[in-house]
């Protein structure tokens, strides 16, 4: 049984590597900029959702305020670049670090709350942060920040002529988030987080310091989401509070993981690959009427999936192989 477990882990890793290679080759055949744009967003949301999944899926602390860390990443990078000329690469790390620290500072009081109360706290805190940024003149207030174009370069992480560099960066980000999850899954933290999610009292009795476990999950999760936010700022080159810290981002991070399979390794990827293109396509094909038909279709689909497959889309695979534990 020991080898079986090791085999499954290796199989996951090989599968991920194969998928990454295939994904990397796609732009060679798909030249359409609109489609490439969707692919970038899909990969970005896969990465974000994978990061969200660490705190909310594995550790079971459902956050609907992760837009806060996304926005922090975006703002840190944009502000450091426009005000101090700091390269986005450093901004990215700074944004990640700041987010991780803030996640722990917020976790300190919030992790004493359980269940719904915790969820509400995350929503409220993100909304407060949004209002604060909207009124912070130095950071552009409600108008936001225009990131000046200084020519295409990897150093400044700006590309105006092609979306490909963004695509490859988003792919790398998705791979990193996946790999971090894969690696943590079979680490002390991974076991602790799942134990905390399933039964904090039992976990505590087995020597798991529940509070610290949650703090660790929050820090890792926030760091990765902030890096995603930094990327997004560079990608769209203009940010304002609502467009990087709005509540919809919190939802869009949670949905792929929830639909794909919350607390699973493949859930977020699977969810993002299905959900994000669907969002974009319904918007462009039936969203033109202005009556919100796209949102109705989109919402209906989410309801159908969650009713038919309450354990997420990954459970289809475990049904096929007839093994329950494959859903992990």
């Amino acid at each position: 049984m020991d080898t079986q477990f090791a085999q499954r882990r290796r199989r996951d890793l090989i599968m991920a590597a194969c998928l990454a290679v295939v994904a990397a080759l796609v732009p060679l055949f798909v030249k359409d900029v609109y489609v490439q744009n969707i692919m970038v967003l899909t990969l970005m949301y896969a990465a974000l959702s994978q990061s969200w999944n660490i705190l909310s899926g594995y550790c079971g602390q459902i956050s609907l305020g992760h837009a806060l860390y996304f926005g922090l990443g975006a703002y840190t990078t944009a502000l450091l670049f426009t005000k101090f000329g700091v390269l986005p690469w450093f901004g990215m790390l700074a944004g990640g670090a700041i987010s991780a620290v803030i996640a722990m500072a917020l976790g300190y009081p919030c992790f004493r709350l359980r269940g719904h109360y915790f969820v509400i706290a995350t929503i409220v805190i993100a909304e407060i942060a949004l209002v604060l940024i909207q009124n912070w003149d130095w950071a552009g207030a409600a108008l936001g920040i225009d990131i000046p174009v200084r020519g295409d370069s990897w150093l400044k992480f700006q590309f105006t002529r092609s979306k490909l560099p963004y695509f490859y960066f988003a792919l790398a980000l998705a791979c990193i988030a996946w790999f971090v999850t894969w690696w943590l899954e079979d680490s002390k933290w991974g076991y602790w987080w799942r134990a905390v999610k399933d039964n904090p009292d039992a976990a505590e009795s087995l020597g798991v310091v529940v509070f610290n476990s949650k703090m660790g999950a929050a820090a890792v999760s926030a760091f990765l989401v902030a890096v995603g936010g930094s990327f997004y700022a560079q990608f769209v080159s203009y940010i304002d509070p609502e467009s990087v810290m709005g509540f919809q981002f919190s939802l869009l991070m949670a949905l792929p993981a929830v639909l794909g399979g919350i607390g699973t390794l493949w859930g977020p990827v699977l969810g993002a690959v299905i959900l994000i293109p669907l969002t974009e396509l319904t918007r462009s094909f039936i969203g033109g009427s202005g009556r919100g038909v796209d949102l109705i279709v989109y919402g209906a689909l989410i309801v159908v999936i969650s009713l038919a497959l309450p354990r997420g889309l990954v459970s289809v695979f475990s049904m096929l192989t007839g093994r329950k534990e494959a859903a992990r």
């Binding site: 020597g207 798991v208 529940v210 329950k324």
Partner: protein
């Protein structure tokens, strides 16, 4: 040698309710001690105090020569207190072996070794065949054994068993009794709460009877069951007269 566990004048009050009043007990190394008493006697509260779920209102708890009164549950586990829960608390979405790995991780930092260790504990508890099943799919008696396995994986010096034998069929209960004996044979001290007298009495070296939050009597199981006070606590005064 000094006792492994000692509670000194422990009180626990919940508002106006006194769950434990002035409880002083001691458990020697290698003993199997039964903690018995009618419903509401304060057994579970005392267990929670020893396991560190909550600090006592008053009094102190000495474990392995150290005052652990103020230590939280996770640190008590580190010191060597393992426990099971009366209402089983399996990690339902995790496999059986993963449940046990959580416990094994406190003494083993290498994942491969923790997994190995967890597997050995499952074999010891007769659950190895179920290792890759989800904990949610176990039958109740298996879940009870998983509780024990998980606690054993933390390599406790003292194992607190909270009604692990209650609600089992006679055959299952007998298997449970044998498991407890096996655990003791490995050098682990056992303190167990049980309701079912006929199961506990042959198993334990010593019985402590709690009633209304106080220690009523303690002694050899054969003596304890004949004690008029114990009979009256369980069955009412009328029955105690004849004893």
């Amino acid at each position: 040698m000094t006792a492994l566990l000692e509670t000194r004048g422990v009180w626990q009050r919940f508002g106006g309710l006194v769950a434990n009043s002035d409880v002083s007990i001691s458990v020697g190394r290698g003993e199997i001690v039964g903690l018995i008493g009618p419903n509401g006697a304060g057994k579970s509260t005392l267990f929670n105090l020893i396991a560190g779920v909550l600090p006592p209102t008053q009094g102190s708890i000495i474990f392995d020569g150290e005052d652990v009164t103020r230590l939280p549950a996770a640190e008590r586990c580190q010191h060597g207190v393992g426990r099971t829960f009366q209402v089983v608390k399996s990690f339902e979405t995790m496999t059986v072996i993963d449940n046990v790995i959580v416990g094994a991780l406190i003494r083993n930092t290498k994942m491969r070794i923790a997994r190995q260790k967890a597997y050995e504990v499952l074999e010891f508890c007769g659950l190895a065949a179920r290792a890759d099943k989800l904990a949610a799919d176990l039958v109740p008696s298996e879940k009870r054994r998983l509780e024990v396995a998980r606690a054993l994986a933390t390599e406790p010096k003292l194992l607190l068993l909270d009604e692990v034998l209650t609600g089992l069929t006679p055959v299952e209960a007998q298997t449970g009794v044998e498991l407890v004996r096996k655990v003791r044979a490995t050098g682990v001290t056992v303190l167990m709460v049980e309701h079912v007298m006929e199961i506990v009495m042959p198993l334990v070296d010593r019985a402590i009877v709690l009633n209304l939050g106080k220690v009523l009597v303690e002694g050899k199981p054969t003596e304890v069951v004949r004690n008029p006070e114990v009979i009256s606590a369980y069955l009412g005064d009328r029955h105690a007269v004849g004893a």
